[in-house]
């Protein structure tokens, strides 16, 4: 007789297992009407279902066992019916939702986009430059925009009444004193280099980004306010070749692996030797294009070995230490990177322009 009880208990488990499988499936997607009917037939149908099998077994059970087995079967039946009904309910709600369509939206309507802010392209370009040099161990320094004549000119080997000053037309502050203390708007960020030398001992690796001012009339190629990033490295044994290597490394990280740099001699009072630095035109791979005026090279910065007089003014022994400095215009590089025709676009703040995506 124990065989009958065992058979019924196996059937109860099988029934429950069958339902579990269906319920698991329904978690991913509601069952179809067909699937549900099939499930119903197999579980609690009149013939050849788990339930009908149990009832068959009950019939052949002994009288004394019938009440207990009957209760067991009844409970299994109720549980199965409840679970099937839950699945049916889920299916019904799903069908109703689909049939109703009341909450459907036109998905092609414009989205409720949060207002998206953007960085100014000059900030994006400056940060890219900074990132290149930070990876080479440079730290970013900062200094005043209203400077004295000494920091902006004299300490950097621009003597008073020297024609080298002609190249940098300067805005002066009204009532800003005279001589070396005369206040002016810095014409380059080099005064920050001087302040760094005076406040730090070598080794020095400093980057000085910032706003500078020159009395240029506003036109597509000139603005009286623009942005520079200058760099300074002072240490024992720093060589001109190190400058070339450093700028070549920068060119590769900034303009791509194929970029090369070229030095050409020029004159800046605070460096000797002084060079104009050109980078190979990455737009045309040096085949010659509009941007490089067909030359295959684009001038992007000035550089050189820090003049011994400038090191001395910065309180650094020029026999023991050597250094190099370089400087570039962020605005011009932005122009180059984005193929912009006119610097003025950068300070108009036309949102149609600013809302463009500036790669970073």
């Amino acid at each position: 007789m124990a065989e009958i009880r065992e058979a019924i208990e196996v059937a109860v488990k099988a029934l429950s297992g069958k339902l579990e499988i269906a319920e698991a499936k329904a978690k991913a997607a509601p069952l179809s009407r067909g699937e549900l009917n099939e499930l119903k037939v197999i579980c609690i149908g009149q013939n050849q279902s788990h339930l009908s099998f149990m009832l068959q077994q009950l019939r052949i059970a002994s009288k004394s066992e019938k009440p207990a087995l009957g209760a067991l079967i009844n409970e299994a039946k109720k549980s199965a019916e409840r679970r099937i009904s839950a699945l049916e309910g889920q299916m019904a709600r799903y069908e109703a939702e689909r049939a109703e369509g009341a909450r459907a939206v036109d998905v092609t309507l414009p989205p409720r986009t949060p207002v998206v802010g953007r960085l100014h392209p000059l900030t994006v370009v400056r940060r890219r430059i900074e990132a290149s040099f930070r990876s080479l161990g440079y730290e970013v320094a900062d200094g005043p925009e209203v400077e004295s004549d000494w920091y902006n000119f004299e300490s950097l080997n621009f003597p008073p009444d020297h024609p080298a000053r002609d190249a940098v037309d300067t805005f002066f502050v009204k009532g800003g004193g005279t001589g070396r203390d005369r206040l002016l708007l810095r014409t380059h960020t080099s005064p920050v280099q001087m302040r760094t030398m005076l406040s730090k001992k070598p080794p020095i690796r400093t980057l000085c980004p910032g706003r500078v001012f020159r009395k240029d009339d506003i036109d597509p190629r000139h603005l009286p306010v623009f942005n520079q990033v200058e760099g300074l490295a002072v240490d024992e044994g720093i060589t001109f070749a190190d400058l070339r290597g450093t700028l070549a490394a920068f060119a590769r990280t900034f303009f791509g692996d194929r970029a090369k740099v070229r030095f050409g001699p020029t004159f800046f009072p605070f460096v000797e030797p002084g060079v104009d630095v050109a980078v190979s035109c990455v737009l045309c791979n040096q085949k010659g294009c509009r941007v490089c005026s067909g030359s295959g090279w684009i001038e992007i910065m000035g550089a050189g070995m820090v003049h011994p007089k400038v090191l001395a003014n910065g309180g650094i022994d020029s026999e023991r230490y050597t250094g190099f400095a370089f400087g570039m215009g962020v605005d011009r590089i932005a122009l180059l990177l984005h193929g912009l025709p006119d610097l003025r676009l950068l300070l108009e703040n036309d949102v149609r322009f600013l809302d463009r995506v500036w790669s970073s």
């Binding site: 970013v140 925009e145 004159f267």
Partner: protein, 694 residues
């Protein structure tokens, strides 16, 4: 600067140089050929000569560089012999240098009996090729010498110079006397000041030294006797005189940058020969050559070049023989120092006034070796320091404001005085004005970047972009205690709608969008929430303007709706503007302990309070907080209502109070007790009712 290839070639014996190659090589040694006209021998270059190389601003000097760059011979044929006759020049004129510190040398020659006429065709052609108009043989001769060897000359009509006590026409090099007047060759009358160097005769100024001659003493068609001036002036003196008179001439350009003190005589001879050839006449024997007693006599500088230092500085090896040959070709006199290995003694030629120290010799060598020969190496690695906190903060602020949906702008640092004036009370000090601005619109350093943002907003509104959220992180300026103070701040402007969607009515940006930007910025930087305190600024709308107070009551800027009259001027309606002083934002400590959120959910209760409009939210909030136990976490405003059902002058505020404990669940009874206590405290405020509480 225009330079003729055939003129250069006159100093380069051998076959005619190739125009393209010469241009390329000159550029490579630092004389950048920026443009080129003509072909073959008729080629004329446009050469950029840097301020430190006045010796390259003439054909002989540039030819010397070209010879080195091309690896060719350089040869100067010299002035050639000139026949002299008649009375010695010294009997015909006298020269005195009074300002000995500003004029080191004044050399003069006299030619008599000339017949004015044009220069020969060859000279005229040369001058025309570089864009200089031929005038007359004597003038063209002086111009030719300037462009040939770089010595500026001037030709006076000897008969126009006033005579001194001994009866000789007299030249005096001196400073102008205050108020003295001179009509220069350009027919402009100039009133001179006592810091300007002039050439005078016995009575009056006859030329601005090194800049331009006077009209009265200039040679004319009737001139028969000429005094030729060839001098060496102090660069600063010429620069001051030229600048003071707003003048810039070929002569001043060279004197300002420095001329060769040993070339005055050569210049005189070259010009005299050309004048006599074209105009006849007789060159009188001798040169009146006065050398200042004050000025240091010219002595050639001698510098030591240490080969080891050269190699260490460059990061590459250059053989001593190579150094010797480069320096020799450039006109230096280098010699190995006897007894010392690896040192070259170098005598600097008189025309290379830019070469003052060893480092200048290093540059001479590397530019001739070629910069393309430099290896690419990297400096040694070391542990870098920390970047400036200010620049790190500025970038964090930019990122946070972008996250708040604002777009970064950048504007000029200067604005017009009128645009700036309204904001001065909130700026860092008294307005800072530019002495030499580009014009009135750029005359004043801004008291707040808001001025620039208003300009940007106007630009956009005029282009039908009216919904704006802009910010700028920049500096503002003001005179404070005798110094120019620079304040770093984040300014912003909100105008039009903040967000609009077809599904709902759009809302115009208002005061609370402004305080929201400030609060969001503080939150993003990890600073305690700022408070806002009503303030009255003439440039902000009364009642919709506040000071920003950082923790500890530190003033951190202002925010508000721009006053209507100002806004109108910028084509804006109720823009919200603000300026946050970055230095006043509290900096989070490097190490902070963070409170872990409680495991218990806590609970919240609502209170609806009807009170007079004049009672600020801050008072309601603080009243509730004062009654609260340690379990009181936050007091928030849910809703404000004024209108039908609420008496005029009153407003209904629904506030919620949140309680919680890190240690336990709160019972309904204790929460209700706290709510009642808060309600009773609110009831104690004048004319205040709390719904459901009697």
């Amino acid at each position: 600067m225009k330079m003729s290839l055939s003129w250069l070639a006159s100093y380069l014996p051998g076959p005619a140089p190739d125009p393209a190659k010469t241009a390329e090589r000159l550029t490579s040694v630092g004389f950048i050929v920026e443009g080129q006209e003509g072909e073959g021998p008729a080629t004329v270059y446009d050469v950029e000569v840097t301020a430190n190389r006045p010796d390259g601003m003439n054909h002989r000097g540039l030819a010397r560089e070209a010879a080195v760059a091309l690896g060719r011979e350089f040869r100067d044929p010299g002035a050639g012999a000139v026949a002299e006759s008649g009375r010695p020049a010294a009997e015909l004129a006298a020269v005195f240098i009074e300002a000995g510190d500003l004029c080191t040398r004044y050399s003069a020659r006299v030619i008599e009996g000339i017949r004015m006429g044009p220069a020969c065709a060859a000279v005229r052609a040369r001058l025309e090729s570089i864009g200089s108009n031929p005038i007359s043989a004597p003038v063209d001769a002086t111009n030719h010498v300037l462009w040939d060897i770089g010595q500026p000359l001037h030709a006076f009509d000897l008969d126009k110079l006033a005579t001194g006590k001994d009866g000789r026409p007299t030249i005096v090099v001196r400073l102008a006397r205050p108020g003295e007047k001179l009509v220069t060759l350009d027919e402009v009358e100039r009133t001179l000041t006592e810091d300007q160097l002039v050439i005078a005769d016995a009575e009056k100024p006859v030329a601005l030294a090194g800049v331009m001659g006077g009209l009265h003493s200039a040679i004319s068609d009737s001139t028969t006797r000429i005094l030729l001036e060839s001098a060496h002036f102090h660069p600063g003196a010429v620069r001051r005189t030229a600048k003071a008179n707003g003048m810039h001439t070929d002569a001043s350009h060279r004197f300002e940058r420095g001329t060769d003190p040993l070339t005055t005589l050569d210049g005189l001879d070259r010009a005299a020969r050309m004048i006599v050839a074209d105009c006849g006449g007789a060159l009188r024997p001798g040169v009146i050559d006065v050398i200042s007693v004050v000025a240091r006599p010219f002595a050639a500088a001698t510098l030591s070049l240490r080969i080891a230092r050269l190699n260490r500085l460059l990061g590459m090896e250059v053989a001593p023989e190579r150094c010797l040959s480069i320096l020799k070709a450039l006109g230096f006199a280098p010699e190995r120092k006897s007894g010392v290995i690896g040192v070259i003694e170098v005598t600097v030629p008189s025309w290379r006034i830019d070469v003052e120290s060893e480092i200048d010799l290093v540059e001479e060598i590397i530019r001739c070796v070629g910069y393309d020969q430099l290896p690419e190496t990297m400096p040694r690695v070391f542990v870098p320091g920390e970047s400036a906190a200010s620049s790190i903060l500025e970038d964090q602020v930019r990122d946070q404001l972008v996250a708040l949906g604002l777009t970064e702008a950048q504007n000029y640092s200067f604005v017009s005085r009128d645009e700036n004036a309204p904001f001065v009370p909130a700026g860092p000090g008294e307005p800072v004005e530019i002495e030499n601005p580009l014009g009135e619109p750029f005359s004043t350093l801004r008291a707040t970047p808001v001025v620039g943002l208003l300009r940007s907003a106007q630009h956009n509104v005029r282009r039908s972009r009216v919904d704006l959220g802009l910010f700028e992180v920049a500096r503002s300026f003001g005179w404070k205690e005798g110094k120019v103070a620079e304040r770093r701040s984040a300014a912003f402007l909100l105008a039009g709608k903040r967000q609009s969607h077809w599904s709902e009515a759009a809302r115009q940006a208002d005061f609370f969008d402004g305080t929201g930007v400030v609060a969001g910025l503080f939150a993003g930087l990890g600073a305690p929430a700022p408070r806002f305190k009503a303030v009255s600024f003439p440039f902000l709308a009364e009642g919709r303007s506040a000071r920003i107070m950082a923790a500890g009551g530190v003033l951190a800027g202002w925010v508000g709706v721009l006053a209507a009259p100002l806004a109108e001027g910028w084509d804006l309606v109720d823009p919200v503007v603000g300026d946050v002083d970055l230095n006043a934002i509290p900096k989070p400590a490097a190490v902070t302990t963070v409170e872990i959120p409680s495991r218990f959910p806590g609970s919240a209760v609502d209170l609806t309070v009807t009170h007079r409009k004049e009672i600020p939210w801050r008072l309601l909030e603080e009243t509730v907080r004062r009654t609260g136990p340690v379990e009181l976490l936050a007091v928030d405003a849910n809703n404000r209502y004024a209108g039908p059902g609420v008496a005029p002058g009153f407003v209904k505020t629904n506030l919620s109070v949140r309680f919680g404990s890190p240690e336990r669940s709160l019972s309904r009874e204790e929460v209700n007790g706290w709510r009642d206590a808060a309600a009773r405290a609110l009831l104690a405020l004048p004319e205040t009712r709390v719904d459901g509480i009697e």
